[in-house]
Symmetry: T
Subunit: 149 residues, 12 copies
């Protein structure tokens, strides 16, 4: 690893381990592994290196964010279901001070009412929602951009 490399933590929230088989009409047909490959390729192109975690446990996500300070320069997070219920993840992001980007595969504003409120967004730099895998890729660009400027 070169010193000048941008290090980014990518967090996949609950149930995303099922991607590809889970409601493909809503979430697309690509597996999480395929998405991760794409993201690593994108990162490589811009001299960034990704650490990628997936967890169904709110506490593990809070743990990971709590250790991000100093280790990563930005976070790309798809909080999935925890978007709508986790004050703990919100507090972790606010507490760690590392800029975070929230991404969603589906357009959460076109779904059930309870999915239209994000507890996480107010403490993030911004949010990308609705473009499938492209949401992650755009979010990654935004993260790298945030680090570089």
């Amino acid at each position: 690893m070169r010193k000048s490399e941008v290090k980014i933590l990518v967090i996949h929230g609950p149930n995303l381990q099922l991607l590809g088989t889970r409601q493909p009409g809503v979430y697309g047909k690509q597996s999480l592994a395929a998405i991760n490959r794409l993201l690593r390729q994108d990162a490589a192109r811009t001299g960034a290196r990704l650490t990628i975690v997936q967890s169904n446990h709110e506490g593990e996500i809070v743990d990971a964010i709590g250790k991000a300070k100093g280790a990563y320069q930005a976070i790309v997070i798809n909080p999935a279901a925890y978007t709508h219920t986790s004050v703990a993840i919100r507090d972790a992001i606010e507490a760690c001070g590392v800029p975070a980007i929230e991404v969603h595969l589906s357009n959460i504003y076109a779904r059930e009412k309870f999915r239209q409120t994000s507890l996480i967004a107010p403490v993030c730099h911004g949010q990308v929602s609705g473009f499938g895998v492209l949401s992650y890729r755009l979010g990654l660009q935004a993260a790298i951009h945030a680090v570089k400027t």
Copy 2:
């Protein structure tokens, strides 16, 4: 295990490990072990086999449901406190595609206002609430019935 056996996953949510000693006026005097014995007897009678898990961790419950596809033909779940707060468990049930039955020992509609809304029910086949241990037993019947028809 015979091939033709119906395999059902039974999930007990948070604090149910305390059954028998926890507010017996609300939740009854039987321990969780006693309830599980009863359920296994019921299952045996109809040629079904149960895997039973109890967890206080939302993430572990999401993990278990995430692995249910292919392994179980139905789920009987008492989400307990997570009934009212867990979008992650809801999404897990919807994502895994295995028919689920929600059960409650107490009549949640006769209790505090916040206990009267279930985030889980809309993605289940149905709900049984208020009959103590019998709620589980009726839920198990409904699960077996769902598999057989």
Copy 3:
């Protein structure tokens, strides 16, 4: 009629006379008569005897419940549309003191918002919702169980 027989009042609320032809995708294809036959068979097996009434009139249902004390040991009721609007039926159940079980053919928690609140449930022993005809049968079991214990 033998003295030791359990006598149970089964009440079908408004529009249930149309079962079989009414939105079969939601309510199933069996006619009310067929359901009643099934219930009587189930009852016979456990030594219970059913009186079954169907009415579109809130007042008639209130009348029937008001006379249940002493005549029946339990009530199984599908209040249908009155689930969401009838304080009178709620008060009748509370007033008569006979244990009541609420049942629903469809999963009311997966339907329109106004169907997700039951005025009746808080005064019942419990509720079974979403299993089609099986909801009645499980409700009948719960009623008999309530009488016997």
Copy 4:
């Protein structure tokens, strides 16, 4: 009947036929017949004559009020459960133009939230709530007073 007599219609709403046995802690121990006797005595003392009806049917109560114009000079009504749900009874009172007094045995403002709103009160002369049988007797006085002034 003398011409100068004040004729008053007294309406008892749903479940009041059960008075005396129905939750005596809330509604008192007197039967409806006993209450009616008391009211007729009170009326006789002031030269008023009562017609008393009890019904569990919203439609019958609407029918009765619809015929009150010209036949009665005032109405004393305990709408019971229909207090909180019946626009039809409200409209009937407003339409018939006969002054109406709303009475309640229990203090509805000390009970469940949904019992604290009356659809009927806004179209009545006034309301008496919480004094048991005395609520009716005070309501009757108010009705006679309304006729005489």
Copy 5:
């Protein structure tokens, strides 16, 4: 009756039997009989035949709609007070499958807040509100049009 005749069921809800004398400033001066004569004349002109019922009983209206299938090709209904409180009538219309038109004499949107929500409208073809007797006549046209196209 000729076979080709369009048969339409006209339902007048609670308190409409008082039309002409009931708050004429709001509901107009014509009696229900006069309105019915007008409607029959309109129907005759277009080869339609009307069956007209008025009831103050929610249950009777539900009964009538429940028998409409096969007997009538359309329903014109002024649910009056039940517009705002009856899920049972809503379900009856949805269950019977006969196209229904909702009409109101007064402009319900210029009145009390609770009159501005119709439980019935979402299951009707459309709604005509505010034109006095003309609301019925336009509703009848819409019903005949719905049958013919």
Copy 6:
């Protein structure tokens, strides 16, 4: 004063000193002095003795109620504007333990929305609303009745 006399505290809340001139269409044409005379006559007839206070100060009303225990056997209170805003008066009534009757000259349920909620009613024996001066007189009867039974 004879020992056996029933002693009742009558409290008139804010702005009632203006009665007779204040919006007579809403509150009637009688002055507070006239009302008090009437009430004293009524009381005298039944062997009760009244202490009457009027205050525009929430604190003075709380003071008066706080001293009621032992000194009075019942309270008749028209809290006027404080009906809708004073938790302090509510707490005073609950704390002093003397049975209280709430009265209102106007029908508060036919007025502005904010006047339709009483913070006081839930801790009173009952409420009389809408009959002008008669509300006080009926309230006084209820108070005496509460003491005697």
Copy 7:
């Protein structure tokens, strides 16, 4: 133009220029021009003359209504999206004093929640909703009727 002619202003709100191609399942297959032809024919038959405007601009609609006084005897308006958001159009109708009829092609009460509230309806004579082109034609009849009576 003959003096005795009834002059009516017909206003089509935003996006109605797209009729025929815009979501035909919701709004029908007829173009706006075709609808206008039908309306002119209907008008001609009853001796009325129409001025028809379509605009996507709230301000232009307000301008047009502001000039209606004296120039037109009635207005038929489909405010489309502005139904739910424009106080300015509401005020214009109220200010100009010309009787207005609100019409909608689709049944707005069977659609998204935000479409179920009309800011315009309370200041109109009445509303016709849900009959496709027929809504306009019935609205036109109502307008002519309002002028003639």
Copy 8:
């Protein structure tokens, strides 16, 4: 213009003509002209051609979208203030059938409550919010991606 070029309509909503001088802490220091230059460069690189409009008039934006069908393959829109109030723009997007991407300079979820609801988002492909000028550039990528796949 070559036939194969992707044609994209970029719409800037109200007050965006003031960019650069308007609250630079919230909206950044770049003028709208500078942003447009950047976007045209990005577009040129991927063989897309932009038509860019800015308007403070809801009606003009509705007009522009109404003509987009056939002329453009995608829309990138920053509805600014109209995000929260315009059903007309929402309907225009839904009616024209051209895929639209919603972008915001600031993170609307970290601002006033009324800015946290978008009427537009539910009918767009997705939304990018909070990255300043980068929001537009990512939105443009998403638009081009939507056209190509």
Copy 9:
């Protein structure tokens, strides 16, 4: 005092005795005495005479307004905290019949949500808010204008 003089009651609500030292960023640096001097000068110029009271006691303010009829031709009131909580002051203004003008030093619509609702404004002639001491001076002009016209 000359007969023709306009007599105006100026009321300062709770905590205004602290002006000058209380949060000067919100309420300005002038003491209440200084404000009163300014107001008396303004009044003198137009032949009006002021009686000025400050009180932290809701009851005293109600008392003062209750005596205003006949003694003053207008009231200028800054109800301060009681703006948001006092039905008693509202009723006093409505009861006394003297035209009242509500003034606020700060712009209450730019502050906490609970400060944005005034119980007093609906019964006043008008309201001036946000201009510091000038709010009082404009309010005084409005009061004098109201008296003279």
Copy 10:
């Protein structure tokens, strides 16, 4: 024009062109031209010069405010109907940085509920409401005062 002159932009919102004929009971009998004459006289007296615009178009008002910076030292605006619906005008005022004063002819707090919330007030210096034409004149004073201090 002298350099030292205070230049003020006066904006009349939708439907105000109808003043004098529009509901004179609510809005007064003076025409807009008469109001403007009065305002110009007031301005002349204090060495201010007014530019006055009236528009029914939200976009035109946004345009006008967008150009105010540098051209005017203060804005007096009666947003009329747009008070309650226009985030665009709010943003324009906030963006242009010119101090703005909101005025209303009628007391908006004594009218319909939806008129009691102003989207504009939080970004203005202050608000004057309820004094008819005097509201404008006081608002003008406040504007000149804001410029001079």
Copy 11:
């Protein structure tokens, strides 16, 4: 009094003069005098001196706080009923600038819904709730701590 002494104002709100006899199950059996003795002992131990006031009058409490600046270094206040209704006390605390500690005998979060919101807490240093007399003693420690650090 020594100069270095910490002077603390202790305020007991409405109805607390009844302590010991008032609902002892909720508020404990100690009289206010006994509590005050305990507090003075605690204060003496840490070199603090208490001035203690009890009042049922919101205005008196506002008066007392208004004079606290310079006289006291901290305030310990149990606002009792005024916790939930008094903006005036809130403003007084904010205006006087003396650090305040809110205490409650009972756990207000385990009681009626309206007792679960404190208007006072947001302007205090902190809150202690639910420990009976100990709440005061802990609050006193916190006050002394606040002064010393």
Copy 12:
């Protein structure tokens, strides 16, 4: 360990491991280790012994509380983010029957709206909020006091 020692379980919720570096303006500059040292010293002084756990995992906290019965005589818990979202922790406290004290470093009532509701408080003995580390120390005193009395 001596038998008579009071054993207390101290639970630190999510993100509290970051104390000292996390938003020191809100949460103070002391590390969690430093706080724990202070608490152990306080405990030692009163003969109590502490077991201290910190976890970001809701499930681990539920586990810990579930084992508290018999092992500890009291619990001091700062649920942090889970205060506002965890029914599971609430149920654990209620189920285990060990008295619990809720503490917060910051004054949660002076922060975002969603932080002002505690799901935990209603099942605790009491709550201490807003005093930084002192909140814990006061909470510990309250816990020891609860055990001793």
